[in-house]
């Protein structure tokens, strides 16, 4: 047992911190810090800067740009990135389809897709969920029928995040409707979003923003070479993909930033003639949240230290569960600090209400999603009860 980072890891942390705070454009980091939407261009620009420095896909195989880092180094890399308000490399590319292709794709697919995926030359989106298959993913109904050298895809996907920016989609489709177990007849296909028959409908969220979409497939013809791995083994790849890279899900660095902002804002808002930060109950609320976040961070470090075999640690569910709750608690805290100012949510630039207070409630409402997506917290409790506690 040792608390301190080794000199090498300490140097690594400094290196990351310096890189993120000096090489990523300030304007982009300011946008993240102010919790404004980051546009497609800023994502792409940032990921290319990271990729050029070997910092976009460190967890990939070395031959495709990976770095062979320790789990702790990957953890430091991610936390420093969040602390520095750097938009993270697109998860659909770097944590999802990239590793799947690297593990299960054929050589042609690897050559074609991996470099472009790491560099965000291709923007990927995910076609997994369907209207009647949410947490129960295996019930999906989108079909792909083989006709010669092509699959003909029909059906509908939903919750496709940032689909409006995407060049390609990776999809789970049913290729064998007769399979005894519904998980067995599923395959993974990839194809361009501009393939004829693909249409996209943005879904407005309760914060007024657009980040998820429905995607419809009507006789979409996909060349058979775009099948990833073997036919009818898509469920295995999906499980591999969803279990991959759980280390980042605690989002400790991002929540730390929210909390640090909240502390600062509480000194700026006055209540009853003194800074709100001096209200004993507000101070205690912040201190308790900070302590819970510390506990989460330490748990993430413990998990990191025990995940050398590459498999997700069962306690990853704790990280997702608690991490999402703390993100929500931090956004709620900021709404409460804004108080009456939070009602000016969509005021324009000439408003006297500061930008952070206007953004507070839409962000709070938007963050209701974090306990739902990525395996809802009910799913996480099921995993903990079943896998860890044997119930």
């Amino acid at each position: 047992m040792r608390l301190q980072l080794s000199p090498e890891d300490e140097a690594f942390r400094q290196e990351m911190r310096t890189f993120f705070t000096t090489k990523v454009p300030q304007a982009t980091r300011d946008a993240v810090a102010a919790r404004r939407d980051v546009g497609r261009e800023q994502y792409v620009e940032t990921q290319r800067i990271l990729n050029a420095a070997g910092l976009a896909v460190p967890h990939w195989p070395v031959e495709w740009g990976g770095r062979d880092w320790t789990p702790l180094q990957r953890h430091i890399w991610r936390e420093e990135m969040q602390l520095a308000c750097v938009p993270e490399p697109l998860a659909f590319n770097t944590s999802m389809i990239g590793p799947v292709i690297a593990a299960f794709g054929d050589d042609a697919q690897k050559q074609r897709f991996l470099p472009a995926t790491a560099n965000l030359d291709i923007w990927w989106c995910q076609g997994f969920s369907e209207p009647d298959a949410g947490s129960d993913l295996a019930s999906l109904r989108t079909t792909a029928v083989r006709e010669g050298d092509e699959y003909v895809v029909n059906g509908q996907k939903t919750w496709t995040t940032l689909g409006q920016y995407a060049d390609w989609i990776f999809c789970l489709v049913r290729t064998d409707p007769t399979a005894e177990k519904k998980q067995r007849g599923i395959s993974m296909l990839v194809f361009p979003m501009d393939t004829p028959g693909v249409t996209l409908r943005p879904i407005e969220l309760i914060d007024g923003g657009f980040e998820v979409n429905e995607v419809f497939f009507e006789d979409v013809r996909v060349p058979a070479e775009y099948l990833i791995g073997e036919e009818n083994r898509g469920w295995d790849y999906a499980k591999f993909l969803l279990g991959n890279e759980r280390a980042g899900i605690a989002r400790v660095g991002a929540t730390k930033r929210l909390l640090a902002d909240a502390k600062q804002l509480a000194t700026e808002v006055r209540a009853d003639g003194r800074p709100l930060s001096e209200d004993p109950r507000m101070a205690a609320r912040i201190a308790e949240l900070e302590n819970e976040l510390l506990a989460l961070e330490l748990t993430a470090l413990r998990v990191v230290a025990h995940s050398t075999d590459g498999k997700p640690h069962p306690a990853s569910s704790v990280l997702k569960l608690r991490g999402s709750e703390l993100q929500q608690a931090a956004t709620e805290l900021i709404v409460d600090i804004a108080g009456p100012l939070s009602l000016a949510s969509f005021a324009g630039e000439d408003s006297q209400v500061p930008e952070w207070a206007r953004a507070a409630t839409p962000e709070y409402l938007n963050y209701r999603k974090v306990t739902i997506y990525g395996g809802s917290n009910e799913v996480q409790r099921t995993i903990i009860a079943g896998t860890i506690l044997g119930l």
Binding site: D132, I206, L276, Q328, G339, A344, Q352, T361, R368
Partner: protein
């Protein structure tokens, strides 16, 4: 003691529910809140026709002379369908303040105009530097040659852009820094209003006053913070009922979803962890409902309405957060979309929670006096 609605009250509820139900069934609310002024002028006229906009005011002032319970019924039905009409703001808060403070002549115009639907008033009170205060801070009132002029910024002002007339609070240094109230007309010189949509689909505005001529509300140079406190308290109680209506719909929407949505081959109501959470939502709702109802009765009985309002606000704030959050969570992804209704309920509950003091704010006030009484007797002093 009697906690049951009488026949007239039940009829009132049915009438309001009929009007609002027709106005806001299905997708209609989304279309209404998409365009300014953020509510439906025809529905507003319908509320006026039914006599609801003058409900709490004396008959001789053009009102219906009804009680707090009737106001609560309207507010609850407003909440039940998320009707965006500014009932609590215009009628209970601003109208109540005018009714309490204004001269008879002012009432003849303003209360009567409000009651008949021809005049929508708004209370311009909050300022970026204040926090749920009864006093004004940065806006100043100065008399020059018999004309009062106001200078400063009010924001956010609910419905401030649409309002036909603004009641503005301002500091009068000549009266020892008292907070006074003034009437400002929509067409007054030096008045700039920039309206915007808020997250819950309603509207607010930045109201800038630059030497804007204004008419004192009521007579004398008295400090009006007590009147503001009381009007805010009544508005908090009405908002508590609006919240109750919204929570009730959020809960029934959720239970309906649990009964019909299938996952893993069965409907969601087969998952005990989910049904238990729905049960807890019901508990929160009923406890909040009891407190809101009681606060309305305290107002009617002439009891300590400010404390009763704080109690109702604390309870509905806690319940609103609990139910608003869990209604979305139990729905899953669809709950965070603007195309489905339940998220709008959460959004509105969040707005109401922050408009006149949130739960922690109310708790601070209650905590300051918790040592003054041995026990709380809801049927005794100081509440009856």
């Amino acid at each position: 003691m009697d906690f049951s609605y009488d026949d007239e009250q039940n009829a009132l509820r049915q009438a309001v529910s009929g009007l609002l139900g027709r106005a806001y069934d299905g997708e209609k609310r989304r279309a209404v809140v998409a365009a300014d002024p953020g509510f439906d002028e025809k529905t507003w006229a319908g509320l006026a026709e039914m006599g609801l906009l003058g409900l709490p005011f004396a008959e001789e002032r053009g009102g219906a002379g009804a009680g707090q319970v009737e106001v609560a019924i309207v507010a609850e039905e407003i909440g039940r369908v998320l009707a965006p009409e500014p009932y609590v703001q215009a009628v209970v808060l601003t109208g109540g303040l005018i009714d309490a403070v204004a001269t008879d002549a002012q009432c003849d115009e303003l209360v009567a105009g409000l009651a008949e639907g021809s005049l929508v008033p708004a209370f311009a009170h909050a300022e970026p530097g204040t926090r749920w205060s009864t006093a004004a801070a940065g806006v100043r009132a100065v008399e020059e040659g018999g004309t009062w002029r106001l200078t400063g910024v009010k924001e956010p002002v609910p419905n401030g852009a649409r309002a036909d007339v603004l009641v503005v609070s301002a500091i009068d240094e000549a009266a020892g820094g008292a907070t006074r109230l003034f009437v400002v007309r929509a067409d007054a010189e030096g008045l700039t209003r920039v309206g915007y949509r808020t997250h819950d689909g309603t509207r607010a505005a930045k109201v800038e006053l630059a030497g804007t001529p204004a008419e004192p509300l009521g007579e004398g140079a008295d400090d009006r913070t007590a009147a503001i406190e009381r009007a805010q308290a009544l508005a908090r109680i009405a908002y508590a009922h609006e919240s109750i209506g919204a929570m009730a719909t959020a809960l029934t929407t959720t239970t309906e979803y649990l009964r019909t949505r299938k996952q893993f081959g069965v409907t969601l109501n087969k998952f005990q962890a989910l049904t238990f959470r729905a049960a807890d939502m019901y508990v929160s709702l009923e406890l909040a409902r009891s407190t809101a109802l009681w606060a309305s009765l305290v107002a009617g009985a002439g009891g300590d309405v400010v404390t009763a309002a704080d109690r109702a606000r604390l309870q509905t704030s806690r319940a609103g957060r609990h139910i608003g959050k869990d209604a979305i969570q139990l729905h899953g992804g669809i709950g965070v979309t603007a195309e489905y209704t339940v998220g709008h309920y959460t959004s509105r509950l969040t707005a109401i929670d922050h408009v006149l003091g949130d739960g922690d704010w109310a708790l601070d006030r209650l905590a300051a006096t918790v040592g003054d009484h041995e026990t709380v007797d809801p049927l005794g002093a100081p509440y009856t």
